[in-house]
Each structure stands twice: as structure tokens, then as C-alpha cells.
């Protein structure tokens, strides 16, 4: 599968956007949380799961998706949301809990829904997989275009939902692709301490579907493998399972002391940061520093505009908490 220069630049710019967005969120998250760290304080309260390091997965997969395609994501959704084209301003406002947020502040960072690009997520491990199967079934039954991609972490593969969904997708030959982001850690428990197989792509065989494993967080390989699986789903060939070796540069959540990591792991991972590495590839292929810096400037503007939008937006009246429980916007006491 050939990758156009345009696609590569989109991948670079989108990874950078996700990274710069999260670096900015990280700073703002700490406002009001020093000297004593209390998660409830500051302009962005609650848990914060950063995805920095995992950007190649998001761009390598979402480069093949259109707005009509469905994505279900996890508690760590920013990179995928950005790559899927979720409205960055409204997502940022949601993370701040503002009225202009995607759900007006009801969902927050683990519950990002943007119907314009068919993106949704759940904070419960592996529980987006069934809904992804259902969305894929819906397209198949209605004979409408579109595939579903369900992102999960490597910690999700031992959930019943994983096995049930793989079986259902294969049984019904659904246009769905399951993407396991293997960042090696389920909070503090390592993959090898939780999973009986070294690589989860082998589990695809149990459900008679293709399984792929991508090593070393390589955006170009991810692009190729995901492209093949998505093309297969689009053309009626059924589901695939892809596991992608990636890594998180941050803790499970902000405030995680990461004492479980072996000495030197963080420094080693930082040396393998996929974004500077991808920049080197682009430069070697003839893209100029000037062109890439220009993309970076655009990204900075997008992030600044999103943050400004969120900061300047008002909070919804607290009583709005009592609306939108049911479909007509109502709440039943």
C-alpha cells in the first residue's frame, strides 16, 4: 500500500496536534493542583489519561477512515478523537466541563461523543467493542457504507467483551476492525503479568479472522496493516484483529508516580518518541524543515484557539445536570 506525501504530512501534523494538545492540557490540568495534588481542583478536574506516545496508532488507523465510519474509543481517547476529526474546540470545552462542550459538561474527557464524525468512547474496559459490532451490523443491514473501528488497550483482551465481540463479528461477518493498543501496561500490571499469550494477534485464529501484529510503534507500518484490514472490512471480507506495539510516555493517569516502571524505561521510551522519528523520515524524503515548521505553527494555532474557546466559554447552569437524561431532553424524578 503506497502512502502519499499528503497522507504522510497529515499523519505528522495530526500526531503533532495530539501531542501539543495534550502537553497543553497537562499544564492546565496542574493549575490549582499544587502544592497539594487534589484531583477535584483546577479548571480541569477529574482523572486525566494522556495518550502521548500512542499517536502513531491513531493516525495510522484513522488515515483510512471517513466521517461516516464509526470509532469506539477508550478512557484514553484524545489522540483517536483528534485523528478521527472530532471538533477540537468543543472537545476541549468538554474537557473543561463547559456549556459549549460536546455534551455541555456532562461527559468530560472519558465520554467524548461527536455525532458529526461518529466518534464515541467509554471509560469501561473493552465495552466499546459490542457497540462497534452493532454499528457495523447496522451498516450491513441498511446496506450503507462505513466500517467500525474499535480501539482497546492490551489490558482489555482478557475481558469477556473482547472474546464475545470477536466471535460475534466473525460469525456475522461484520465490517469491523479491532485495534489493540499495546502500551505494555494495564495501569501498573504489565502485559506479561496479565496475559497468557505474548502477542494477542494469535487470538484472532480462535475466531477465524486475520490477526496482525505491528512492532515498534511505526506509523507507516500501522498505516499499511490498518489499511489492509479496513479495506477488507469495507469490501465485505469481515473483521480483523490488529495489535500494535506502542507506548505511553506518561503515567496511566496524571498523578501516577509510575514506580512500577523498571529503571530507565521512561528515558528509553522518550528516546524512541515517534514524532521526532517521523520528522526525520519526512526530512530524509525531501520535506523541508520550513514546511514542517509551518505545520507546527498551524498546530499551535489550533491548540491555542481550542484552549481559548474552552477557557472563554461559560459553565452551563448547574441545573442543566437534570436534563438530557432521556431522549426528549427530560429527566424523570
Amino acid at each position: 500500500m503506497l502512502i502519499s506525501r499528503e497522507t504522510k504530512l497529515w499523519m505528522y501534523k495530526t500526531m503533532l496536534l495530539s501531542r501539543r494538545f495534550e502537553e497543553t492540557i497537562e499544564q492546565i490540568y496542574l493549575e490549582g493542583k499544587t502544592p497539594a495534588f487534589n484531583m477535584a481542583n483546577g479548571p480541569i478536574p477529574g482523572e486525566m489519561h494522556l495518550s502521548n506516545g500512542q499517536e502513531p496508532v491513531a493516525v495510522g488507523v484513522c488515515a483510512h477512515l471517513n466521517a461516516e465510519d464509526i470509532v469506539t474509543a477508550t478512557h484514553r481517547p484524545h489522540h483517536q478523537a483528534i485523528a478521527k476529526g472530532v471538533d477540537l474546540k468543543r472537545m476541549t470545552a468538554e474537557i473543561f466541563g463547559k456549556q459549549t462542550g460536546l455534551s455541555g459538561g456532562r461527559g468530560g474527557h472519558m465520554h467524548i461523543f461527536d455525532t458529526n464524525v461518529n466518534f464515541g468512547c467509554s471509560g469501561i474496559i473493552a465495552q466499546g467493542m459490542g457497540p462497534a459490532c452493532g454499528a457495523a451490523l447496522s451498516r450491513k443491514m441498511q446496506n450503507k457504507p462505513g466500517v467500525a473501528v474499535s480501539f482497546i488497550g492490551e489490558g482489555a483482551v482478557n475481558q469477556g467483551a473482547f472474546h464475545e465481540s470477536l466471535n460475534l463479528a466473525a460469525l456475522w461477518c461484520l465490517p469491523v476492525v479491532f485495534v489493540v493498543e499495546d502500551n505494555a501496561w494495564g495501569i501498573s500490571v504489565s502485559k506479561q503479568d496479565s496475559t497468557a499469550v505474548a502477542r494477542n494477534d494469535v487470538r484472532a485464529a480462535a475466531y477465524d479472522m486475520p490477526g496482525h501484529f505491528v512492532e515498534n510503534n511505526d506509523p507507516l507500518v500501522i498505516y499499511k496493516v490498518a489499511g489492509d484490514a479496513i479495506d477488507r472490512a469495507r469490501s465485505g471480507g469481515g473483521p480483523s484483529l490488529i495489535e500494535i506495539e506502542t507506548f505511553r510516555l506518561a503515567g496511566h493517569f496524571m498523578g501516577d508516580a509510575e514506580a512500577y516502571r523498571p529503571d530507565g524505561e521512561k528515558a528509553f521510551l522518550e528516546s524512541k518518541d515517534p514524532i521526532p522519528a517521523f520528522r526525520k523520515i519526512l526530512l530524509a524524503e525531501g520535506t523541508t524543515d520550513v514546511a514542517l515548521d509551518h505545520l507546527k505553527d498551524q498546530v499551535e494555532e489550533q491548540v491555542s484557539a481550542a484552549i481559548a474557546f474552552a477557557r472563554e466559554s461559560a459553565y452551563a447552569p448547574a441545573e442543566d445536570a437534570l436534563t438530557q437524561v432521556f431522549a426528549q431532553g427530560e429527566y424523570h424524578e
Binding site: 455525532t115 451490523l137 451498516r139 460475534l168 432521556f326
Partner: protein
């Protein structure tokens, strides 16, 4: 409606007819669940549908409730109107995340942008010695959690109208049908649940209780099988000259507190019948509705006839000892 044909239907047949008619008029409606195809549902509520609509829209599933109820959520969010069956409500323990974290919360967490127009139908109730993993009602477990409507009909007329209303509702609806009312002889069915039912499609509004017997001395509130026990108790009380009013809640969410309060205003006495576990449940909620509104409406302390807080036993005499019945309701009145 003058030329509407009226037939006596069981709840099972009324449900199947409601689904059939909605499937005929709306291509987005489909059914999935365990044994809902060739078998027609263990409790008969999809009988005949496979023959008419085929395997694509009457979709037998593997025994994978997490996957197929989750798939119902995903399909509903994508524009379909799935009717998904959880065969026994007791099985919710293997799949509740799909129900209460996805089905019930995605409307809210999307600020109303994602609708989940899905019906989750599930059987409830015991009385036939199936023990505590196949006999529970668990009404309050579902009604406690926000974001899903929860209904349970007591007769075929309501079952048909409420199923049509549930399928057309843009919110998720948990449609709980009591096995003892289904009209399946092998479950020892309650004959009074089989009633005249029009052939034409019609809706029974969700969230509206119904006074099924008027009276002035005591209000007896129940749902599903509880309504039939209440009506039998009312007959017995009538022999003593006591005039009982019986309220069929029909819906737990939304709960029609007004109808209950209005009835108690008239009678001054309240008994709640509930086949679900007594504590933290329907009976407490109904009584609180009245007391919070105006505790002076009550001329004596309210009573509840509910399932004791024990797992449902197998032995027939033990189960029957625990179940609500008409005599217990009469005794509760006498204790007021």
C-alpha cells in the same frame, strides 16, 4: 377503530404481534437474542416472526449477552431500532455494563446528541420452582439506574400497546414481562392476563399507571403479577365489605406518582405489592412518593407485601411461602 378486530390474546402473542406490526411498518426494527428465531422465544414473544421476516431481522445470537446487548446499543445509535432480548432478567449480571453504562448513559454523556432507541425485553418472576437464578424480578435494580425507561405490563392489551410505544420511543426501554403472565401453560399462567386485544396497532403511553379497580377504603398498588394478586385480594376484601382500589403501575420509570397520590387522597390507606425484594425497592419508592407529598394523607401506616430479602428458594412450599399473594395482602389490610 370501529372495524377493529378484537381477539383474546396472551401477553406472549400480544408482544409478538406488536413487534410484527412495527417490523412491517418500520424497516429499522429488528430483533436479536437467544432462541428468538426458530424457537420463537423461550417465552413465546417472537413466535412466527422468523417465518415472516427471515434470519437477517430475526437474529438468533450466540450466548454472548455482553456482545449482543452492546451491539444493540451500537445499532440503535446508528439509526436502527433493535428489540433485544435478555432471556431471563437474572442473567443481567454477565452484561450489565452494556445496559447501564452504555445504553442508559450515552444520551446523557452526548448531551442528547446520541439517541439509543432500543428495547431490551426480559422475563421476570417465579412461582414455578426455578430457584433464585431464574425467578427474580429485579425491577428496582433497573429502575434505580437513570437513563432507561422501565415498564412491566400485567395483561395482553397493555403489553401490545406498551411494546409498540417502547419501540417508537427514542429512549431505551427495559420491557420486563412476567413469566407467570405469558400465557405459557407450562409456567402455570395467570388466566386474567389473557384479555381482549385489538388487531390494529395502538400505543399505551409509557409512564402512566392505571386504576384497574375503583374503591374508596384502601389503595393497593402493584405491577405485573402483583396486580393480579391485588385484584384477588380486592375480591376477598369486598366479601368483608371493604372497597379496595387497585392501581397498576405499568411503568416504574417514569413513575406515575400522581395517580398513586390521587388514589391515596381518596382512600387514606396504602398497600404496595411487589414480587421484587422488599428492601430498597419499588414498595419503598411508592410509599415515599405519598409520604413526601403529604404524609397526612395516610390514616394508618402504609404496608408492603413484597418478597423477603432472601435468594429465591427452590422447594415449592418454601418459594410459595415467600411470594406475595392475595391472603398476605388481606392480612396486611387487617393489620392497618
Amino acid at each position: 377503530m370501529s372495524n377493529t378486530k378484537i381477539r383474546r390474546l396472551t401477553i406472549a402473542r400480544a408482544m409478538a404481534e406488536a413487534i410484527q406490526q412495527e417490523m412491517q411498518s418500520d424497516p429499522r426494527v429488528f430483533v436479536m437474542g437467544e432462541d428468538i428465531g426458530a424457537l420463537g422465544g423461550v417465552f413465546g414473544n417472537t413466535r412466527g416472526l422468523l417465518e415472516e421476516f427471515g434470519r437477517e431481522r430475526i437474529r438468533d445470537t450466540p450466548i454472548s449477552e455482553t456482545a449482543f446487548i452492546g451491539a444493540g446499543v451500537g445499532a440503535a445509535q446508528d439509526g436502527m431500532r433493535p428489540v433485544v432480548e435478555l432471556m431471563f432478567v437474572d442473567f443481567f449480571g454477565v452484561c450489565f455494563d452494556a445496559i447501564y453504562n452504555n445504553m442508559a448513559k450515552n444520551n446523557y454523556f452526548s448531551g442528547g446528541n446520541v439517541k439509543v432507541p432500543m428495547v431490551l425485553m426480559t422475563s421476570t418472576g417465579g412461582g414455578y420452582s426455578d430457584a433464585g437464578q431464574h425467578s427474580q424480578c429485579l425491577y428496582a435494580t433497573f429502575a434505580h439506574l437513570p437513563g432507561m425507561k422501565v415498564v412491566s405490563p400485567s395483561n395482553a392489551y397493555d403489553a401490545k400497546g406498551m411494546m409498540i410505544a417502547a419501540i417508537r420511543d427514542d429512549s431505551p426501554v427495559v420491557f420486563m414481562y412476567h413469566k407467570g403472565l405469558q400465557g405459557m401453560g407450562w409456567l402455570g399462567t395467570e388466566a386474567a392476563a389473557t384479555v381482549d386485544t385489538p388487531e390494529q396497532p395502538y400505543q399505551v403511553e409509557l409512564g402512566k399507571a392505571k386504576i384497574v379497580r375503583e374503591g374508596s377504603d384502601v389503595t393497593i398498588v402493584g405491577l405485573a403479577m402483583g396486580v393480579h394478586n391485588a385484584l384477588k385480594a380486592a375480591d376477598k376484601l369486598a366479601e368483608e365489605g371493604v372497597n379496595a382500589e387497585v392501581v397498576d403501575l405499568r411503568s416504574l420509570v417514569p413513575l406515575d406518582r400522581e395517580t398513586v397520590i390521587s388514589s391515596v387522597k381518596k382512600t387514606g390507606r396504602l398497600i404496595v405489592v411487589d414480587e421484587d425484594y422488599q428492601s430498597y425497592g419499588v414498595s419503598g419508592e411508592v410509599i415515599t412518593s405519598v409520604v413526601e407529598h403529604d404524609y397526612s394523607l395516610l390514616r394508618s401506616g402504609p404496608k408492603r407485601v413484597a418478597y423477603p430479602d432472601v435468594p429465591i428458594p427452590f422447594a415449592r412450599h418454601m418459594e410459595q411461602f415467600c411470594l406475595p399473594n392475595a391472603d398476605k395482602i388481606v392480612a396486611a389490610f387487617h393489620a392497618m
